[in-house]
Amino acid sequence: MDMIVFILTGAFATATPLLLAALGELVTEKSGVINLSVEGMMALAAAMGFATVYTTGSYLLAFAVAAGLAMLLSIVFAALVLIFSANQVASGLAAGILGLGLSALLGREYESFTLQAPSGLSVPNLSNIPVLGSILFEQDIVVYLTVTTGLCLMWIIQHSRAGLILRVVGEDPHIAHNLGFNVLRVRFLAILFGGFMAGLAGAYASTILTPIWSQGMILGRGWIALALVVFGTWRVLRVMIGAYLFGALLLADLAVQTLNLGIPSQVMTSMPYVMTIIVLAIVSRNALRIKLNAPVSLGQSYRPGQ
C-alpha cells in the first residue's frame, strides 16, 4: 500500500519532464514539423540549468537559462528546416547531436555534483487528507504549472484562433498560405515553443527531480516524450495521461529495484524502453486512427509559392 501511494505520488514528478517536453513537441508537430532534437535540447538545458542553480542558487534563473539555450538550439533546427528546406529527420538528429555534445562540454566541470533538493510546495490543509491528499497536494510548483499548461494548451489548440491557425498550417500549409497566414512564421513559433518546453523539461530533470548532474542523465526521456506524442495521437489530454503512466512506470522500476526480488537491475532499467516499443506498436497499429489525428503535412518541408 505504501509502495502504491509512493508511486502514485511520485509519478507526477517523474512524469513532469516527459510531459513538458511532449507538450512542446505536440505543438511543434501540430504545425507540421517533427523535431527529433528533444533529447539534445533537454540535455543542454539540464546541464546549464544545473550549472546555474549550482553557481547562483536561483531556480528561476536556471529555468530561464535552460529554456533560452534550448530555444537557441531549436532556432538552429528551425533555420535548417525552414530556411534551408533540409529534411526534418536529419535536421532534428543534427541539432540533437549538437545539443548532446554541448551538454557534455558545458557540464563537464559539474560531473557528479549534487544540489540540495528543494523543499516541496505542498498545499496547506488539503495535503492532510489521507492518501489522496498526499498524492495530489504534496507536489512541487512545477508539477502544478505543467498540468495547468497542459489544460490551457488543450483549450488553445481546440478553441482559440491561434490554435486554429496552428492546425491549418499543420494540415495544409498551402491552404494556410492562401488564407493569408505566414506558414513559416507559424512553424518557427511552434518550433520555438517546443524548444522552450524541452528547456524547462531538462532544467526540471536536473535541478528538481534528480538534483545530480551526470553526462547522459536525460536517459532517453526526450525520445520517450516524442513517442508520447504518438501515444496520445496528438491530443493533449491523452498525452497527459500517457506521461503520467510512464512517470509511474519509471518510478515502479526504482521501487521494484529496492524490493530486491532478484530481478537483475538491467531488466528493470530496460522496462521503460521495452514499454515504449510495445505501446508505440499497439497505438500505431490502428493506421486509421493515426491518419485521422496526425497533422497531414507532418514531416514535409514547405516553401512559400510552390
Binding site: 536529419a90 555534445g101 536517459l219 506498436a281
Partner: protein, 361 residues
C-alpha cells in the same frame, strides 16, 4: 533593400555536390576553432592536434584505419536505408548485439585454435545485428510503428543486455572483478596488417573497402537499388510502379543491421579482443553523420569515413596535448551535420540576390 532567396534549380547541381562537403568541413573547422577559442584553449594548438598530428606517425595512421573501418561499414549500411527514407538510428544497438552474439563463440571455446572461429563470428555477428534490426522492420511493417523510436529504444536495451551479461554469466572469473569477458584466443582476432608490430590496424579495413565497392555496384547498377531510391524520393510513384514500401523498410533495416553487427565483430575481434562495457565510442551515431557527409554515396562515404576517423584520432590527441575536453568531438560532429544540411540546399536550390524588390516570401 537587398535580400537573398533560394530559388529551386531545374536540375540538381553536380558542381554543388562537390562543393557542399568542402564547404561543410571548412565551416565546421572555422566554427570549431572559434569554440576552442571561447573555451580558452589555444586554437592553433587544438587545430594542429586535431587535423595535422593524426597524419604524422605510423601509430596514428594505423588508428585512423581502425576507426575508419566501423564508421565506413555502418554508414554504407545506413545510407542504403537513408536513401529510401528509412531511418535506422539503432546501429549502436545492432553493433552491440552483433558483438555479444559473435563473442559467445570465443567465450565458449577460449582455448580453441580452430581457424574457422573468426569466419563463424563474422557470420553470427552480421546475422544477429540483422535480427536486432528486424525487430524494428517487423514493427514498422506490421504495426506502422516509427522505426526511429523503436531502433533508438533498442539501443538502450542492447546496452543493458551487454552490461548484464558481462557482470553476470559472461564475466571472466579471473578478471579481478572487472566487468569483462575472458580475452579471446588468436583465432578469434583479425590478422594485423603488419604482424608482430605495436600497430593495431588489421585486415578488417580491406573487408570494409571491398564491401564499399559492393555497395557502390548495388546502388549504381542494380534494379533493387533503384527501387529503393524511388521509394524514398517518390513514395507515391514507387507505389504505382508496384515497388513495395514494406520491402524497402525490410531491405534497409536488414542491410543496416548486418553492417552494424559486422562492425561489432570488427571491434571485439580487433582493437578490443574481448567483451567489455563500452564496445564503441558511439560509432553508430557518428556513422549517421558519415553517411550524410558522404552524400549517401558509397564512394563519398569512404572519404567521409576517413575524415571522421581523423577527427576521432585527432580528438584523442587534442585531449592530451591541447587539454581539449573529451566531449569536443561530439560537438564537432553536430556542427558538421548542421553545416552539411544547410549547405546541401545549394544542390537543389540557387541562392539569388533580389535587389530593391520587396520580395514575395
Amino acid at each position: 533593400m537587398i535580400r537573398y532567396e533560394f530559388v529551386p534549380r531545374a536540375q540538381p547541381s553536380t558542381g554543388a555536390l562537390v562543393i557542399v562537403p568542402i564547404l561543410t568541413v571548412a565551416l565546421s573547422i572555422l566554427c570549431g576553432t572559434a569554440l576552442f577559442y571561447i573555451l580558452d584553449k589555444p586554437a592553433g594548438v587544438a587545430f594542429y592536434a586535431f587535423f595535422i598530428e593524426p597524419f604524422l606517425s605510423n601509430y596514428t595512421l594505423s588508428e585512423i584505419a581502425i576507426k575508419a573501418a566501423p564508421l565506413i561499414l555502418i554508414a554504407q549500411g545506413l545510407a542504403i536505408g537513408f536513401r529510401a527514407r528509412v531511418w535506422n538510428i539503432g546501429a549502436e544497438g545492432q553493433l552491440t548485439i552483433g558483438a555479444i552474439c559473435a563473442g559467445l563463440i570465443p567465450i565458449t571455446w577460449p582455448q580453441s585454435d580452430n581457424v574457422l572461429m573468426l569466419p563463424a563470428m563474422i557470420l553470427v555477428g552480421a546475422l544477429t545485428g540483422m535480427v536486432w534490426a528486424a525487430i524494428a522492420a517487423a514493427l514498422r511493417t506490421a504495426f506502422n510503428a516509427s522505426e526511429i523510436i523503436v531502433t533508438l529504444m533498442l539501443n538502450a536495451i542492447a546496452a543493458q543486455i551487454l552490461v548484464y551479461l558481462i557482470n553476470g554469466p559472461l564475466k571472466d572469473p579471473r578478471g579481478f572483478s572487472f566487468p569483462q569477458s575472458v580475452p579471446f584466443p588468436d583465432v578469434a582476432l583479425y590478422p594485423l596488417l603488419i604482424e608482430d608490430s605495436f600497430l593495431r590496424a588489421n585486415v578488417s579495413i580491406y573487408i570494409v573497402l571491398a564491401l564499399s565497392l559492393l555497395a557502390w555496384i548495388y546502388v549504381r547498377h542494380s534494379f533493387s537499388g533503384f527501387r529503393l531510391l524511388v521509394s524514398g524520393l517518390a513514395p507515391a510513384a514507387a507505389h504505382y510502379a508496384g515497388f513495395s514500401s514494406n520491402r524497402a523498410v525490410w531491405i534497409s533495416l536488414l542491410v543496416g543491421g548486418a553492417a552494424a553487427g559486422l562492425a561489432g565483430v570488427g571491434e571485439i575481434s580487433g582493437p578490443i579482443g574481448k567483451l567489455q562495457p563500452i564496445l564503441s565510442p558511439a560509432y553508430g551515431f557518428a556513422a549517421i553523420i558519415v553517411a550524410f557527409l558522404g552524400g549517401l554515396n558509397p564512394i563519398g562515404i569512404v572519404v567521409a569515413g576517413f575524415f571522421m576517423a581523423v577527427i576521432y584520432v585527432g580528438a584523442d590527441g587534442a585531449v592530451l596535448s591541447a587539454g581539449l575536453p573529451a566531449s569536443a568531438p561530439i560537438v564537432f560532429q553536430g556542427l558538421i551535420l548542421v553545416f552539411y544540411l544547410a549547405s546541401h540546399t545549394l544542390v537543389n536550390f540557387e541562392l539569388r540576390r533580389i535587389g530593391g524588390t520587396k520580395g514575395t516570401a
